[in-house]
């Protein structure tokens, strides 16, 4: 079936099987492999993308369900001139990653969290990231990255 959606501002149209998951549509049909597949069971959050601005786990959404929607992946976060999005910049500044596998999902989940709660406490961030697992960092620097990003003027425009 033909599935159309907007990915990072670009209209996409691909002929895929009805059973195609959004994450596979993004990785295989669109060719954007920044969104990782971790557990593939709605647990780890590695495949988190924004669907109409809200975080979702793209392993548990059919591409067909997202037809007509706006999707943002990690590739759509930085500005066109290469300047990092404030959440990405905060990860760099705070050393918010080690192996990096969970990072795209973390960045998307934090972006959604900060949209809903622009001035979170540390507790808000820890609770808000309950759907994203990291096996390297112990979360400390990821939480710090979210808090630093929340203080970026760009996030409050």
């Amino acid at each position: 079936m033909k599935v159309d959606m907007t990915v990072n501002g670009t209209p996409e149209s691909h002929d895929v099987a009805a059973r195609t998951l959004l994450v596979d549509y993004l990785r295989d049909a669109v060719g954007l492999t920044g969104t990782n597949i971790g557990c593939d069971t709605t647990s780890c959050g590695a495949c988190t993308v924004l669907l109409n601005g809200e975080s979702v786990k793209s392993c548990t959404v059919l591409a067909a369900q997202a037809a007509g929607d706006d999707i943002t992946t990690i590739e759509g976060m930085a500005h066109e001139d290469g300047t990092l999005h404030p959440v990405q910049a905060a990860f760099q500044e705070c050393h918010g990653l080690q192996c990096g596998y969970c990072t795209p999902g973390m960045v998307m989940a934090i972006t959604s969290l900060l949209k809903e709660n622009p001035e979170p406490t540390e507790e808000d961030v820890r609770v808000g990231l309950e759907g994203n697992l990291c096996r390297c960092t112990g979360y400390h620097n990821i939480v710090a990255s979210a808090l630093v990003a929340s203080r970026s003027p760009e996030m409050h425009r």
Binding site: M1, A17, A18, R19, T20, L21, D24, D40, T41, T42, S43, G45, T48, L51, E54, S55, V56, K57, C59, T60, V61, L62, A64, Q65, A109, S112, L113, E116, V127, G128, E130, G131, N132
Partner: protein, 273 residues
């Protein structure tokens, strides 16, 4: 993991969905947010031949205050219930529990109707519905009918919907009073190993149990004890009565029945019993 093949159709209205269900019978499944059904399909535990996507029916997404109850559209997402000013004021336990389901990503997709019609005894909302004495409004080829929550959950993953019916609205009595919700999980986002909810209602105190049998349960013995004046610590001793929990890697039957007593006591204490 990829689901088995199926035909996908988006329904433009509830009537269209009912028409498709009538035509395709048990081969077809409704798809709302997909956060109960798609994981089962990926594991090939469910292999419907057709998915009827009703996720876009915005007319079934609302939280409204009626004279005696709060009406929640079946396609209202957990996230929207948790944020709803009406739910927070007039059904605060529902808003709270909706905000505890899964994680933010799950709450952005999952719906109250999907969760309830899935009939999973380990899910949180059915127990809240039972404790509050809620009602389900379902629509089929012959119009709408109402089903008491206590009559809705028939057996393991089986509910009182006929194959051509759609759950359209969930009603709970207005209850701005005290409530307690306790859930034991090993990780924040997990299903409850055991959960308990207690709510002050016009009839007394309603108590619901999560994951204590093949269906979501109402702790009737506890409720009766509270009505006859028992204190939380004594009433909670009856929390295992009538339960039939599964034994699994999270705990034995005896462990779950013990935990139920502890959680029911805590929930009752929060409603001042």
């Amino acid at each position: 993991m990829i689901p088995a093949s199926f035909d996908y159709v988006r329904a433009g209205s509830v009537d269209e969905a009912i028409g498709l269900l009538s035509e395709h019978g048990e081969d077809a499944k409704l798809l709302a947010g997909g956060h109960s059904l798609l994981p089962l399909m990926k594991l090939r535990l469910a292999q419907p031949a057709m998915l009827i996507d009703i996720g876009r029916l915005r007319e079934l997404s609302y939280v409204k205050e009626e004279k005696e109850y709060v009406a929640v559209g079946a396609l209202t997402r957990h996230h929207d219930i948790a944020q709803s000013p009406v739910a927070l004021a007039s059904a605060p336990v529902l808003a709270h529990v909706a905000g505890q389901i899964g994680d933010p990503q799950v709450r952005h997709r999952g719906t109250i109707g999907g969760s309830i019609s899935h009939g999973d005894p380990a899910s949180d909302l059915p127990a809240v519905l039972l404790a509050l004495g809620g009602t389900l409004v379902v629509q089929g080829p012959n119009g709408r009918r109402e089903i008491d929550a206590k009559d809705f959950f028939l057996s393991f993953f089986e509910v009182a919907l006929t194959p051509e019916e759609v759950l359209v609205e969930v009603r709970v009595p207005r209850s701005s009073g005290q409530w307690g919700f306790e859930k034991l999980t090993k990780r924040a986002q997990d299903w409850a190993i055991v959960g308990a909810v207690a709510v002050k209602t016009s009839d007394g105190v309603g108590v619901g149990l999560i994951n204590m049998g093949p269906v979501p349960l109402r702790a009737s013995a506890v409720e009766a004890a509270v009505t006859s004046g028992a204190k939380a610590i004594d009433a909670a001793q009856l929390a295992g009565e009538g339960t039939d929990p599964a034994a699994d890697f999270n705990g034995s039957v005896a462990y779950r029945q013990h935990v139920a007593k502890v959680l029911v006591r805590r929930a009752l204490e929060k409603v001042g019993v």
